[in-house]
Amino acid sequence: MLEVFTVTIAVLAVVVAVTAGAIIAVRVVRQIRQRRYAALAAGPRRALLSFVAGNGEEGSADLIAIPQDAWRAAEPGALALLGKLRGEAHQALVSVFLHRGIARKALGDLHSRSRVRRARAAQVLGDLELREAVPELCRLLTDRHLEVRVVAVRALGRIGDPAAAWRLIAGLDQNESIPSLLATHTLVQLGPEAEVTLSAALDHPQARVRAVCLDALGLLRATGSVQRMARILREDDVLDVRVAAATNLGRLGTRSAVEPLTGALTPARPTALRSAAAKALGDLGAPAAVPALSALLDDEHYWVAHHAAHALRRLGLGGLAALRAVLDEGTAEAGAHARPSNASGHAREALALAEIETQPVPVPL
């Protein structure tokens, strides 16, 4: 038995020594590689910065002529730069990438067996905002791997082709589908031209699809969809979808959203919906909502009363007057930090915040 121990100790000693050596080797190799990459990337980086500073008018030939190994070292920086540029400088840099065959390679990599390569390729095509890649990226929306689908969705958002809208919506109706927030953001990036598709999808049988489309319509300020959104607010079977409808009616900023939202404040409605509707009326900025919101200040549910008070604060003079009236009436006697919600407490809180917001911030001398 002792021999087994002895052998084990010997093996351990070797593995410990190898591990310690490996730590040193990893650092040495990394430092050498970093130095080499830094040296290789220095020239291209200067050329890139001068190209961008000149709005891409001069220097593209120099960038295209950079040897492949030097370009490879500079490419991550160039891609990062691409994401920060807009307008002519962006277009000019994209054309450099196209001349260097990066887009062609990325389109090829979309068919790679490696999911990491497929995802990287989709990311590059999105950075390049290459419209020609939209059909291929839409194909990736049914990729076996979620992470690839997620990158494809982001890339489609950056390209911003509204033709991708219905494919994105279809992609939501899958097992292990793309995250709702990402899908919404991407649909918004497609712009107002996607509104018709989004509005039509409000009748989709999947609750999540309806909720995503409502969010996208709200962020696009699609005032043409107000009636359809109001119908969902009244009639949808799923509470989360109705809450999304309330929130997004508030984002539309149109007077026609006031009536459906005030209708959602009635005590018979679920608390989450009433709370969302109260908040949305504040977002809407419609003074006509003041009476309905004032009535909620004494609501037994904290968040309903809280959002009503802060919505009144945001409604300007009319809302603030209503809050002051509640305080003056002294409808409640409880102190400032009383645990149960009460009208005067919420009114006092909202007024205090309003006062701070209207005060000029002292500038340190």
Partner: protein, 484 residues
């Protein structure tokens, strides 16, 4: 009779040896899993979409809750850093838990706080009294400071949860310094998988020795004291590697109170932080598992390895002892409180793998370590084992432990390599060796004491923590914190 005792000691020594091998093998398994996870993470960094998350108007807003008790030494730098994080929409809620030092005054002066009469909802229970609520005049939606009577960390967190306005709550220690992208990284899983992610833990590293300017770690260095250097290696092995490994296995049960983020609705649903457990952070996670498993809900509790929260580690034996007693007491209390989950198939991997592992390899490990320290010499004395066996036993057991620590350093070097100096690398390797001579044994004594205290039902006391604060500018401020 003597023969029987000898045989018993011989068998026990072998059993202890087998235990050490199993323990270190389990660490090895977790480290391998962590290595795979880091590789996966790094290969995907180019298309992870952190910038898209930062730009998206739909990124879930976060309430960062910072309980503070006598944190005057570092509170301003910490809050400055927290209010300057790279995240699209968030608020910081500092809960001053009845500090007796100038914590609140410092905040008031620095951020020009003004009192607002907030209504505090009672969605999660709190025992203390809220004295006043303040907001920063220049940015009332971003910084809130609550003053309350002392009620302990859990109570302060519950007040913060009540006042949190956003759907995600991130709990951060007041002595923590967050990397600029920390919130973005730790909240990202909620954006990637919003229907399933219930909680996410971030890695905590040791800030001692690092250069901190304006609430930012600008230069990562090894601490000056060996006691803290050993803890750096320990944090790498146990927190960074161990928790990443558990996360990959789907069995993460500990999210550090120094840096963890949760869905607010779920925290409210389960009643917030427990008042009767000293390890309230881990207890919350176990209770979350309990609740979601009972509801048969598909959910995930995950861990992200980078970026990080930097915390000050104890630099004296006295404070370290208190901390480790408290941690082990926490483990004992949580396992006792949720004992019905242990080995229960209803709780899936948590009940069948993670919690039994915590019983065998976390709770009992210091008992076995101390037993070995007693029984091996005893076995030698009564001739139950011979010297040749004894030294080989010790060498294999501690050698395997050393290998685990070195592998952690290796993976850190391959993946994140946060310590750029060669001298720090060497110190890390030496600390991995030194850890086995005295540190582990003393730790075991403290841990046993903590567990015994829990089983006896002694009163939960946080104990004193001397802190010096972070900012590298010269400061004589040294303070003592005594939580309830």
């Amino acid at each position: 009779m003597t023969d029987f005792i000898r045989e018993l000691l011989r068998v026990t020594d072998w059993a202890i040896f087998a235990y050490f091998v199993a323990l270190n093998s389990s660490y090895l398994g977790l480290i391998v899993l962590a290595g795979l996870e880091f590789g996966r993470h790094l290969r995907r960094a180019a298309f992870a979409g952190a910038d898209d998350m930062f730009r998206s108007p739909l990124t879930l807003p976060v309430s960062v809750i910072v309980p503070a008790f006598n944190e005057g030494a570092g509170i301003v730098a910490a809050v400055q850093a927290m209010t300057a994080l790279r995240y699209p929409r968030y608020e910081v809620v500092v809960v001053d838990d009845g500090s007796t030092d100038d914590t609140f005054e410092l905040l008031r002066n620095q951020f020009d706080l003004v009192e607002v009469p907030r209504v505090v909802p009672g969605e999660v229970p709190y025992r203390s009294q809220v004295l006043s609520v303040h907001v920063a005049r220049a940015n009332p939606q971003t910084l809130t400071v609550v003053r309350k009577t002392n009620g302990g960390k859990s109570d302060a967190l519950n007040v913060g949860i009540n006042l949190a306005r956003h759907p995600l709550v991130c709990m951060v220690d007041a002595d923590s310094v967050l990397d600029p992208d920390a919130l973005l990284s730790v909240a990202k899983p909620f954006g990637d998988d919003p229907l399933r992610v219930a909680a996410c833990g971030g890695v905590v590293r040791i800030a001692n020795g690092c250069k901190v300017i304006g609430g930012r770690v600008v230069d990562v260095r090894m601490p000056r004291q060996w006691l803290v250097r050993v803890q750096v290696v320990e944090y790498l092995r146990a927190f960074l590697m161990g928790r990443t490994g558990w996360s990959r296995l789907g069995g993460l049960v500990v999210i550090s109170g120094a840096f963890g983020i949760f869905r607010r609705d779920l925290v409210v649903e389960i009643g917030g932080m427990s008042h009767d457990t000293i390890g309230e952070d881990a207890e919350l996670v176990v209770r979350l598992h309990h609740h979601l498993r009972e509801r048969d809900q598909d959910y995930r509790v995950i861990f992200v390895a980078e970026p990080v929260s930097w915390s000050e580690a104890p630099s004296s034996l006295r404070v370290l002892g208190r901390q480790r007693r408290r941690w082990h007491r926490g483990i004992a209390e949580i396992l006792g409180k949720h004992r019905r989950m242990i080995g229960n198939p209803r709780y899936g991997r948590i009940g069948l793998v993670a919690l039994p592992y915590y019983v065998v390899f976390e709770l009992l490990a210091p008992f076995v370590e101390l037993s070995a320290l007693v029984l091996l010499p005893l076995g030698l004395w009564v001739d139950a084992v011979d010297l040749a066996f004894a030294w080989r036993f010790a060498l294999v057991a501690y050698g395997y432990g050393l290998l685990i620590s070195l592998l952690s350093l290796f993976i850190e070097e391959v993946s994140f390599h946060r310590y750029p100096r060669w001298s720090d690398l060497l110190r890390g390797v030496l600390a991995a060796i030194i850890e086995n001579f005295g540190y582990r044994q003393v730790l075991a004594v403290w841990q046993v004491s903590g567990a015994v205290h829990a089983w006896r039902g002694g009163q939960a006391v946080w104990g004193a923590m001397h802190r010096k604060g972070f900012d590298s500018e010269p400061s004589d401020r040294v303070k003592e914190t005594v939580g309830a």
